[in-house]
């Protein structure tokens, strides 16, 4: 213990009676300091148990899963049958994974691109009504996306047309792109609903960048676009990565929007919908769900671990001014 306090060198262990009090204090201090870590580890273990159980069960057959809890597992009953079954020819799991990617990737990149521009504008371009517009944008966070789903779907199905009452003239507000039942409809929806939060998060970060930087750049003759491209974007990498992780996880794991927009079109279904249907009538195939869940979770795990060092930095985004 006393090694941690090299400055009090004369308190090194040696059995001298005078050292005892400080040795005890050190020990108590060390013990107390270990408590938070211990609690954290405890929480981590508790939090991981369900996932561990799911993981173990994904290697057990139906009778095993139904017959006893996952902690009763014996090594001899472990099998890859469930994985074989979900990757089987009929399940279409690979196609659905590609569909999930076709939704999650555009739905992550496009909101970031738009929101970064918007956040810069709100933070550093002085225009009339800036504050009001920003408040309006952010307050859209309060709108539950569920209420907008069916009107949006109707728009994707037939476009939006408005007939001017007296003139008897029809104006096409949104043309009929025939998007219903495609992954495009899904990521367009995700893009729209991600915008308020993306702008809010990015704005908080970008507006906290030091003003001196911008003034210096101005003096050097940089216009808004150069400042954004050469200065703001590189400095904002942590928050962009953090938002990318959030948005990717949310769109990859989304069921509701995909289910509404894709409807009956089996060829465009993402993995979440496929998994929901895997269980079969009356849960007859429930035993493949843990395996399917792990396949579905694998991609976000890769994304998370690849970007996690940004995640920790970015989660502080905007919380500390300085």
């Amino acid at each position: 213990m006393s090694i941690t306090a090299p400055l009090v060198n004369d308190a090194s262990p040696g059995g001298q009676p005078g050292d005892e009090p400080s040795g005890i204090i050190d020990r108590v201090y060390g013990f107390l300091r270990g408590i938070p870590t211990g609690i954290l580890w405890f929480i981590v273990v508790i939090w991981s148990i369900p996932t561990l159980g799911l993981f173990v069960n994904s290697f057990r057959n139906r009778d095993g899963q139904r017959g006893s809890g996952w902690w009763n597992v014996s090594p001899s009953e472990l099998t890859f049958d469930n994985y074989d079954q979900i990757f089987g020819a009929r399940s279409g799991l690979l196609r659905s994974l590609l569909n999930s990617a076709a939704i999650a990737i555009p739905a992550t990149i496009i909101p970031i691109a738009i929101a970064a521009f918007a956040a810069y504008g709100f933070a550093w371009i002085d225009f009339k009504g800036r504050k009001g517009l920003f408040i309006a944008t952010v307050s859209l966070l309060a709108i539950p996306l569920q209420v907008a789903l069916i009107p949006l779907l109707q728009m994707f199905v037939g476009g939006a047309k408005y007939t001017v009452p007296l003139l008897d003239k029809t104006i096409t507000i949104v043309p009929d792109f025939d998007l219903a039942g495609t992954t495009t409809a899904v990521w367009l929806t995700h893009t729209g609903f991600a915008m308020p939060f993306a702008i809010f998060l990015l704005h908080n970060y970008i507006s906290s960048l030091p003003k001196d930087l911008f003034e210096a750049a101005r003096i050097d003759g940089a216009n808004h676009f150069t400042i954004f491209w050469r200065l703001v974007l590189p400095l904002s990498i942590p928050v962009l990565a953090a938002f990318a992780i959030f948005q990717f996880l949310w769109t990859w794991n989304d069921y509701l929007i995909a289910n509404t927009m894709i409807g009956a079109n089996a060829s465009q279904q993402p993995t979440t919908i496929l998994i929901a249907n895997l269980a079969g009538d009356f849960g007859r195939n429930e035993h493949v769900l843990p395996a399917a869940g792990f396949v579905q979770a694998f991609v976000p795990l890769v994304v998370f671990f690849a970007l996690q060092r940004y995640f920790v930095r970015g989660i502080l985004a905007g919380s500390v001014k300085g």
């Binding site: 139904r66 496009i110 998007l179 039942g181 009956a264 269980a279 009538d281 007859r284």
Partner: protein, 462 residues
């Protein structure tokens, strides 16, 4: 200032164009998703009835079909059967089994994005959509095919206010009791032929120190309680006959009528602690699907459930095989008044548009060939056991059905009084709502029968 605004506006507009371009890319790449109504209409609608392989050509029109069936064997057989028909007629048929079909079909219809055809397990729902003008009546040609292959009694539930919308695609027989003949023989029990014998047998079994007489479990996720409603339907039919049953279904005889309450109380009286084995401890907590294992394991003697329960027995169970002591068989759920009523259920296909390709598929679903091929494919998919599929279409080759399944069909065909599952005919708020939930409370003992009946009656719409 104006210039800057223009620049700002340019970004989203440019992005919108990109999005639109990507949209059309996706579409050509990821399978044809245009609704069939926009596909080029076939010029030569086939006139050869529903013969698969009869060469209609629909220019690769896409027909999407949804339905609640999503089992591996069901999906495999449906894809086989429909795929074969589609190939022969150049129609691209996609079937999606949907875990949440009941809710999703509403969203799809409201959003204007329904499938071309959907399989309806509840004629009540089909009628709702038909009355709202979302479904299209079948063409005369499909009607002729229906008359050729289906008895009026089975067509009836696809008919809404005199117009035919639904085509029967699957038939279920509910009035069955599953049991192990070997277990009966070992204990010296006889298969009961009247309801009095049935209850007497239950009492004998309960008094003997062996397996419980009945396996009962009514848990089924969101649909918990439907097994109870089946029992009530059986009891209404048995106690009071088909006229009362019909009146009850259209609510001219309300739930709180004494006769209906008597039928609601009857299963509860049978399901005493001495009589019932419930694997999960209580009846309401036991999944109805988990009643197969205890029956095979000899924890109970009997289980009343429809023919499709064959698929829920543990793997390797044999059916109606005298050589095998663990084989499972069925007997007819006995009647009270000697009129042998039968409770049925089924699935109906109905179309959301009148496209020639859609109607050609509907026509095919109405044929005996569809039923026969699906049965053959599904039997193969489950590895040769009981497929869980059944169709009462006339003119099928009986050899595709196993002897036990043939006996189901002969019960269906010979029944003079056959009534469709009442809860599926009632408005969804009741038949798929309060009847289930209040029924479950009644089984749990939380409320008594008059309370349950008046609550269900109060929820009847209109």
């Amino acid at each position: 200032m104006t210039k800057r605004w223009l620049k700002l506006a340019a970004v989203p507009i440019a992005l919108a164009f990109v999005a639109a371009a990507c949209g059309s890319d996706d579409e050509s790449g990821g399978g044809d998703t245009t609704p069939a109504s926009e596909a080029p209409a076939a010029t030569d609608a086939p006139d050869d009835g529903g013969d698969a392989g009869g060469g209609g050509d629909f220019d690769g029109a896409t027909v999407t079909i949804t339905g609640p069936e999503r089992d591996d064997p069901s999906i495999a057989s449906l894809n086989d059967v429909l795929g074969e028909f589609g190939e022969a007629n150049n129609i691209n048929i996609e079937y999606t089994g949907d875990a949440d079909w009941e809710a999703n079909i509403n969203t799809q219809v409201q959003g204007g994005n329904p499938p071309n055809i959907s399989y309806f397990p509840q004629p009540g729902k089909l009628a709702d959509f038909a009355r709202a003008g979302n479904l299209k009546p079948v063409t005369d040609q499909v009607n002729e095919t229906l008359d050729e292959f289906w008895l009026d009694g089975f067509q009836l539930y696809g008919n809404v206010d005199g117009t035919q919308y639904g085509v029967p695609a699957k038939t279920d027989l509910k009035s069955l009791v599953w049991y192990q003949p070997a277990a009966f023989a070992a204990a010296g029990y006889e298969v009961p032929t009247t309801f009095a014998e049935f209850t007497a047998l239950i009492d004998t079994m309960a008094a003997a120190d062996g397996p419980k007489p009945l396996c009962v479990g009514i848990e089924s996720g969101q649909a918990t309680g439907w097994t109870y409603t089946d029992w009530v339907e059986e009891m209404v039919l048995r106690l009071h006959g088909p006229e009362v049953y019909d009146g009850w279904v259209d609510n001219s005889i309300p739930f709180d009528d004494e006769r209906i309450q008597e039928a609601m109380q009857a299963p509860v009286d049978l399901w005493t602690e001495d009589n019932v084995f419930a694997a999960a401890g209580s009846i309401a907590a036991t999944s109805f699907a988990d009643n197969g294992q205890p029956l095979v394991d000899g924890q109970c003697y009997m289980h009343r459930q429809a023919n499709f329960f064959a698929g829920l027995f543990p793997e390797g169970t044999t059916f109606a095989d005298p050589a095998d002591d663990s084989a499972v068989d069925v007997f007819y759920f006995p009647d009270i008044n000697g009129d042998k009523p039968v409770l049925t259920a089924g699935i109906f296909a109905a179309a959301f548009d009148e496209d020639p390709a859609t109607m050609a598929v509907m026509n095919y679903i109405a044929t005996a060939e569809y039923a026969e091929k699906r049965q053959a494919a599904q039997t193969e998919a489950v590895g040769g056991g009981l497929s869980g599929y059944l169709s009462a279409a006339i003119g099928q080759d009986p050899s595709v059905y196993q002897p036990l399944e043939q006996s189901f069909l002969s019960i269906l065909e010979s029944a003079e009084i056959a009534r469709f599952d009442g809860s599926d005919l009632m408005p969804a708020d009741v038949g798929a709502g309060t009847f289930w939930s209040e029924g479950t409370s009644l089984v749990n003992g939380d409320i008594d029968v008059s309370e349950a009946a008046s609550r269900i009656q109060a929820s009847w719409p209109g």
